[in-house]
Amino acid sequence: MAFDINEITAQMLGAVKTTLKDNWNMAKETAASFLQTRKDRLELLVSLRLNNEISQKFFMKRLEDEKKIFESEMHAVAIITKAMAQKAANAALDVLTKAVEKALPF
């Protein structure tokens, strides 16, 4: 069986595009959900402070938490994008290995 590298490369690119398209929405929705929950938390904290339900010291400590939560969210986004890239790369490699398998004379 003939092994057409141009055809295989086009198929690999197609596999990458499909995989990234399928996973892109999840990455976008996760980032949006992080932003929304941050807004909700900050609203709550400010309201608790303005109503004197928490001390200034406690309020500042919770703002320190926000920096750490943001750091954790960035790590989560890194995992999500790496997982996306991994799925896309493996989909492309899958196309290549199947094409090689088909082209083998034995």
Binding site: F34, T37, E53, K61, K68, I69, S72, H75
Partner: protein, 144 residues
């Protein structure tokens, strides 16, 4: 001599093909359904800890009344960390868990040092601790 060269070439070709066929890139740990479940249940337990505190009078919110639940949640966080330490490609996960563990320990210590918590402090802790759990849960689900 010629036969030996042909055998060597064929062996080399087979080795290359078998390497290619087994080629998969790995940049993140494998999805673990049991870990996702554990994260979800422990996040729920820490949320419920603060919800239950809000339901009772200030005088009954003594640390001693909740220390067992704090310790159960702390032990679950340690178990989640241990399981993640055993996974390859775990750097991002361990950083998320470290932040969560430190935040939960700080909340526990604050309650212990102050004996009780006000409504405002409970609401603030409930919201912040939940913020630390969310990235861990969503990251695990992204591995599916």
């Amino acid at each position: 001599m010629t036969a030996s060269i042909i055998i060597r070439k064929a062996a080399g070709l087979l080795l290359t093909i078998s390497l290619l066929l087994s080629c998969k890139v790995t940049w993140v740990p494998e999805y673990n359904a049991q870990l996702e479940d554990q994260v979800s249940k422990t996040a729920k337990a820490s949320d419920k800890l603060y919800m239950d505190m809000l339901d009772i009078p200030l005088a009954e919110r003594k640390y001693d009344n909740f220390k067992e639940r704090y310790n159960e949640i702390g032990a679950e966080i340690n178990s989640i960390q241990l399981k993640n330490e055993a996974r390859p490609k775990n750097t991002n996960f361990l950083a998320i868990i470290k932040n969560l563990r430190e935040a939960f320990e700080e909340a526990k210590k604050y309650h212990k040092d102050n004996s009780t918590l006000s409504d405002g402090e409970i609401k603030a802790y409930q919201s912040s601790i939940s913020g630390f759990w969310r990235p861990l849960y969503l990251a695990e689900r992204a591995l599916k």
